[in-house]
């Protein structure tokens, strides 16, 4: 029964954009209909997913609805529905008659594809939904395909996602070879040889790593996120890349007897992704690219948790499994919430100022108070700071990593503990990056006319942001609420323990987090109120900012995002490799000077592009055979068939 309901929910999303195709381009009816279907589908899907935590069912052979699937389904439906509401104002059909219909069609299809992947229990079905999602996302990224930058980002995404699909085809072919069936499920111990298991692991790491944007497979991610409309970026960053995590987590749980190095490799990749993601984010001038690099960072944190759980599984330490995996799964939710919130806030800024360049903004908090508040909440949450949700999931992963030290009589795998210190560094770097972004965009005074003329967005934009911010606050203050859900998810991931898993609520101080969080809120209010009373009774003046006596300060003298990140840029110059274009030495009477710098993506620009050039040079020789002459092609077919006949 429940399976049919989730299929109905998926179908609602899949067809949400279809009626609009048959309506006039310049009317809003199709958009409202799409919104209605999307909200209906999401409500159905979320209700069924919640029920699945307590009553997992598999009455249809090719659909599996259990706690792990439900954990991924809930953010998919939630973020997608909120994005549809946001789209009403951000991408109205009346304003974008040429591409609004296409956008909504593929938005619904991608949501359907994502939800379909999460419930597929059959590799053919999985691949079908995977391609719906992957190709749909290509059309979403290239919504504004009249711009060259967008087309480039789209092509890069298409190439990457095809490579990922290629690996999946190989993976499922091997899976079929080993198991003899297309059904997906746990493999019994000894079903695969260690070599074969390693091949499968590497294939799924690459396939899902590309989709998740794990370093070094992240090359498509920044461009695609920046090019897409903001609610699409929110969907992609919030939930689409998590489907890579879902695939990874689900498939590794089915492989029997994982060696320790699998978990170790995931831990290393996660840590590298985390640090380099945030370092690259520090080097960005484009708000949405900055957020995109933060997705790479957070995927890194999630993979750290997953790696820890894998190590725990190999060494049979249940506490590491529970803490690592629960942290990873909760971070999937949390990142889905606060990153969508940040992308929607960024969209609100872009909607109002028509620029994504951080250094052209400034002082928006006065004109856009709600957007500024929601961005600040998202920023505090993504930095993992209390009392918001990011802190809870990072705390779980920290606790797990600290426990690898082997406290007292517990087993130890101490090298993992170094990840704890590096995670602390990731956190501090994230604070630096978000103070930079928040400060340069919303604080100080405006650096350009477009920033000066900014205005607050309407309710369709701020409403979804409010909903997401509220979720961040609720999970941050009352993490006990999600504890049972996470426990169920972990139990599904490692069925062999069968009720023997330690309780998450016992190991993690969920109650204390609530106490401390509420106390913090109380203290803030109390100190604020005391100060407010004091202010009311004393003289309050207003004056310009202290400018050290300089007579004519201008907004251009403010610290910009680039100058703010300059010192950190110097630390990490070995990986950032900034390209600087500046005017040369000046004479006694200096003329106008200019300075420009931008940061390349090391993996894409210094490794993949040169490799690609080599590939192009080699394959150019074969272009002779593909001259567009259809007779020649027919001749090739005949020759090839004759060769095949000779061979067999």
């Amino acid at each position: 029964m429940n399976e049919w309901l989730v299929i109905a929910g998926i179908a609602c999303h899949a067809f949400s954009g279809v009626p609009g195709l048959f309506m006039r381009r310049d009317t809003a009816g199709g958009q409202r209909l799409a919104l209605g279907l999307s909200v209906l589908g999401s409500a159905l899907g979320m209700a069924v997913a919640l029920a699945a935590f307590w009553a997992p069912t598999q009455s249809i052979a090719f659909i599996r609805l259990d706690a792990l699937a439900a954990i991924f389904l809930i953010p998919i439906f939630w973020v997608s529905a909120l994005g549809s509401i946001y789209g009403l104002e951000y991408w109205p059909q009346m304003k974008y008659p040429e591409n609004g219909r296409k956008l909504r069609l593929f938005y619904g299809l991608v949501t359907a594809g994502l939800a379909g992947i999460a419930v597929s229990a059959n590799s053919i079905l999985f691949l079908f939904f995977w391609e719906v999602m992957a190709l749909g996302a290509f059309f979403l990224v290239t919504t504004e395909d009249h711009e060259r930058e967008v087309r480039d980002a789209g092509i890069l995404y298409l190439v990457s996602t095809h490579f990922s699909t290629l690996c999946l085809f190989a993976l499922f072919a091997i899976w079929h070879l080993v198991t003899g069936t297309f059904a997906l499920g746990p493999l019994p111990p000894g079903a695969v040889t260690p070599t074969m298991a390693t091949v499968i692991f590497i294939l799924l790491l690459v396939a899902f790593g590309i989709k998740a944007g794990l370093m070094p497979f992240h090359v498509w991610l920044p461009g695609a996120h920046a090019a897409a409309p903001s609610h699409v970026s929110a969907l992609m960053s919030g939930v689409l890349i998590k489907i890579g995590i879902y695939g990874l987590a689900r498939m590794v749980s089915w492989l029997p007897d994982p060696p320790v190095w699998w978990g170790g490799l995931l831990l290393v990749l996660g840590t590298v992704s985390g640090i380099l993601g945030v370092v690259f984010a520090l080097g960005q001038h484009d708000l949405k690219r900055l957020l995109a690099y933060h997705s790479i960072e957070n995927i890194g944190i999630i993979v750290m948790g997953l790696g820890l759980a894998m190590v725990g599984r190999s060494l049979q330490v249940s506490t590491w499994i529970v803490l690592g995996l629960a942290g990873a799964l909760l971070h999937v939710w949390n990142h889905g919430l606060f990153k969508s919130l940040l992308f929607l806030s960024a969209g609100s800024v872009v909607h109002s100022t028509h620029t994504r360049s951080i250094d052209k903004l400034g002082g928006l908090a006065a004109a856009m108070p709600l957007t500024a508040l929601f961005f600040a909440i998202g920023a505090v949450a993504i930095c993992g700071l209390p009392p918001l949700n990011g802190f809870v999931s990072e705390l779980l992963i920290y606790l797990g990593l600290f426990r690898t030290l082997g406290l007292g009589t517990e087993p130890s795998w101490g090298v993992a503990a170094f990840s704890a210190a590096l995670l602390a560094m990731i956190g501090a770097l994230a604070v630096a990056c978000f103070v930079k972004a928040f400060g340069a965009i919303f604080l100080g005074s405006a650096r350009s006319d477009s920033a000066r003329e900014a205005h607050e967005s309407g309710r369709a934009i701020t409403g979804p942001m409010f909903a997401l911010a509220l979720c961040c606050l609720v999970i941050g203050l009352f993490p006990r609420l999600v504890c049972p859900l996470l426990q169920q998810g972990v139990a599904v991931w490692i069925p062999s323990y069968d009720g023997q898993l330690p309780s998450l609520a016992m190991m993690a101080p969920m109650g204390w987090i609530s106490v401390v969080g509420l106390t913090l809120v109380g203290l803030l209010l109390a100190i604020g109120a005391l100060w407010g009373l004091r202010l009311r009774r004393s003289r309050v003046g207003a004056a310009g900012t202290w400018d050290c006596g300089y007579a004519a300060p201008s907004p251009h003298m403010q610290y910009t995002a680039s100058s703010f990140a300059q010192m950190l840029g110097v630390f990490f110059v070995w990986v950032l490799r900034p390209q600087v274009h500046a005017s040369g030495k000046q004479t006694v009477f200096p003329g106008p000077a200019h300075f420009r710098s931008h940061v390349m993506d090391v993996v894409l620009d210094e490794i993949l592009r040169p490799l690609y050039q080599v590939g192009v040079r080699i394959t150019t020789a074969f272009r002779y055979f593909q001259g567009g002459n259809i007779h020649a092609y027919l001749a090739y077919i005949v020759i090839f068939l004759i060769l095949l006949l000779l061979w067999k």
């Binding site: 606790l399 426990r403 203290l523 100190i527 309050v540 202290w546």
Partner: protein, 302 residues
């Protein structure tokens, strides 16, 4: 219960005294009489009675800075055991909360600085967040060592003095941690040789330059918060270096406060004996602190 009240009482009242002791020590070394020991209290009272001037560029973020800074420090102070008494709030993982509370305070004080739109305050904010990117891993390496030695994930147990000293590699690991914590203490609280709270040149400051535009009670909140931060972080170091407990509860409180004042004297001596480093050396020292405590972890892992 009375223990909790005593803890809060000390946390609220003693911190400015530390600044007084540091000032007096420096004055003695300089051959001056110096301001009275209670001068920081007089300063705070005077600031709280003054009016306030807000810059016209600022928003609510500017006002949130001092409030968040003080509230987070206060809460962090509740996680640290003072002397042999356990902390009022103690649970598995509270050291992570401890570090992250300061990060929350930093987020808002740095944002408040950027809210003024002044280049100088931007400089200060950039330096503050940059240096803490190196201080944070150093602090966590210290926590890792303490967690391993005390087999616990809670600050109260970590700092209870139950670490087995004198046998094997534990003592060197603790020495490394103490050195690392001292550097973190000086950097995070903007003391000489890393930063000079008394300098009057905006270009060279870190923490002080962030608060140029705060006045009256807001400045009072910031200075009170800064004193409390020094006290709280200092008490972590004190418990690592001297985890002693006196026989009776009241003697123990006294011993703890005496220990903190001694720490203030040490900081005063360091400030008198050293000149401020150039800004470029601050990261070098922080990396050194990081590596010291990382070696501590390696020693214990073997």
């Amino acid at each position: 219960m009375s223990q909790v009240f005593m803890h809060i009482f000390i946390l609220l009242l003693v911190p400015p005294l530390l600044l007084g002791v540091i000032g007096k020590t420096k004055a003695l070394f300089g051959g001056r009489k110096g301001p009275p020991l209670l001068q920081p209290y007089y300063d705070l009272i005077r600031l709280f009675q003054k009016g306030t001037v807000f810059s016209t560029t600022t928003t609510w973020v500017f006002r949130a800075g001092p409030v968040v800074g003080l509230a987070t420090t206060l809460l962090a102070g509740m996680l640290i055991p003072f002397g042999g008494h356990g902390a009022p709030v103690s649970f598995a993982g509270d050291m992570i909360l401890f570090a992250y509370l300061f990060a929350l305070g930093r987020f808002f004080t740095a944002s408040a600085a950027l809210d003024t739109g002044s280049a100088f305050e931007g400089m200060g904010a950039a330096r503050e967040v940059t240096f803490s990117c190196l201080a944070e891993p150093a602090l966590f390496f210290c926590f890792l060592v303490l967690a391993k030695l005390s087999a616990s994930l809670s600050l109260t147990t970590m700092l209870s003095g139950t670490c087995p000293l004198g046998t094997g590699v534990e003592a060197p690991a603790l020495v490394l941690v103490a050195a690392s914590l001292f550097v973190i203490l000086l950097v995070e609280n903007s003391r000489i040789p890393f930063d000079d709270p008394n300098t009057h040149l905006e270009l060279t400051m870190i923490h002080e330059v962030m608060v140029l535009d705060h006045s009256g009670p807001a400045l009072g909140l910031i200075q009170y918060g800064a004193a409390m931060k020094l006290f709280v972080m200092g008490s972590v170091l004190l418990r690592v270096v001297a985890p002693f407990a006196a026989p009776s509860a009241w003697a123990d409180w006294g011993l703890f406060i005496l220990g903190m004042l001694a720490l203030a004297v040490v900081i005063g001596v360091v400030e008198s004996a050293m000149a401020r480093f150039r800004m470029v050396f601050v990261p070098t020292f922080l990396v050194a602190a990081c590596l010291l405590s990382a070696f501590g972890v390696i020693l214990l892992l073997r």
